[in-house]
Amino acid sequence: MAKQIRSPLPGIFYRRPAPDQPPFVEDGGSVEAGAVVGLVEVMKSFHEVIAEEAGTNVRFVAENEDPITVGVVLAEMD
């Protein structure tokens, strides 16, 4: 079964550290445990979303700037 990265927070999801920078993780890329995979903006501040485990072939389910709720799946990976 695919591994999931879920959002601990509600807010607006961002895949890039800043609009003019590349995404934290490219589609199809891989992550180490503890890697930052995106940001969530809520209550006037930005919070990092961390991959709890390592994975490959990361497939984002949430788009950049999607409104998200607590616990939603942001990405799946192998």
């Binding site: 601990p8 927070l9 509600p10 903006e41 809520v42 209550m43 006037k44 409104p67 998200i68 607590v70």
Partner: protein, 326 residues
């Protein structure tokens, strides 16, 4: 007895029922955003209803107990874990020295209340332990809790049997959409009939900026104001007024676009017109709204507002009786 903070969560603060009486000096009432949940959490562990507990928003903290005691988690629904083993929320849970409390993902609501037998015993300021972070008042040195803090806990006066629980039907949850009842206010005449109707007809969504000071809503039509020459002392935008007091629950609409309902840590006055006030009976519900949740504003008159307040009192009495075994 103390509570060790291993991980603080997103923004976890010590809160009780607040410090009313200083709003005219610019110091907000503060206190739990969901007062009924705080009262219930305290009753479940044998505390006075107004004892201080932890309020955590969206994300639960990780805590360790230094002595045996009883805890309860109320408010939003969230998997509660003691040493990794899942336990029910809204229930008295026995904990032992050295055990660790952690949480899963919130499944409904926005804020949880963690009460511990004896209550959190940080020093009171102006009659309350509530944290007002912007004013650096109350709580732990006037701030949210941080990893490494040891929160003092008072002496427990009364034991509650573990497993004692607030029945599901007595817990209040946000709806889809959540209906917030509004009493139109002093400045209601400043907007057109179409804008008055539109405000109640439209569906609004909680904006991500919503916090303890105020809840901002987006998605409804902008308000249309009745033309006037702005009075001396008011700003030039039609949503500006000569400075006035802002009540708890009042709805200001800067620029006529996004309504903001002022909550426990709100500013006490300013120059934005207020469309009306969310009635006190529905303020707890706002504390349980996550960003993007849908909301409708529903008009009530004063009689309706007072009846709703009486209804909330009755609901709280039912919880008191249930937990007292009556």
């Amino acid at each position: 007895m103390a509570l060790k903070v291993l991980k603080p969560g997103l923004l976890t603060t010590v809160q009780d029922l607040g410090r009313p009486g200083y709003f005219h000096l610019g110091i907000p009432m503060g206190g739990a955003m969901d007062r009924m949940a705080l009262r219930a959490a305290n009753l479940l562990v044998g505390n006075d209803e107004g004892a201080a507990a932890l309020e955590a928003v969206f994300v639960g903290p990780e805590l360790e107990f230094t002595a045996d005691g009883t805890i309860a988690v109320t408010g939003g629904e969230i998997p509660v874990k003691i040493d990794g083993e899942e336990q029910p929320c809204w229930t008295a849970l026995a904990v032992k020295a050295g055990q660790k409390l952690s949480f899963g993902f919130l499944t409904s609501g926005a804020r949880i209340y963690i009460a511990i037998s004896g209550g959190i015993d940080t020093p009171p300021h102006l009659g309350s332990r509530s944290t007002y972070a912007i004013g650096a008042l109350g709580g732990v040195e006037g701030r949210a809790v941080a990893a490494g803090d040891e929160l003092p806990v008072g002496t427990s006066e009364k034991a509650v049997a573990p497993g004692t629980s607030v029945p599901e039907e007595m817990r209040r949850k946000p709806g889809t959409p959540t209906e917030l009842r509004v009493l139109p206010g002093l400045y209601w005449h400043r907007i057109t009939d179409a804008a008055q109707n539109g405000f109640f007809e439209d569906e609004w969504k909680v904006a991500p900026e919503a916090d303890r000071m105020g809840y901002r809503f987006k998605g409804g039509r902008p308000l249309e104001f009745i033309d006037r020459e702005q009075p001396f002392g008011a700003g030039s935008d039609p949503s500006n007024i000569v400075d006035s007091c802002y009540p708890y629950g009042s709805i200001q609409v800067p620029g006529g676009t996004e309504p903001i309902v002022l909550h426990r840590d709100a500013v006490s006055g300013g120059g934005y017109f207020m469309i009306g006030t969310v009635i006190s009976a529905d303020m707890d519900l706002i504390g349980q709204l996550q960003p993007h949740m849908p909301v409708r504003f529903v008009p009530v008159d004063m009689d309706g507002a007072l009846a709703a307040r009486a209804e909330r009192r009755t609901a709280m009495d039912r919880i008191r009786k249930e937990l007292a075994g009556e």
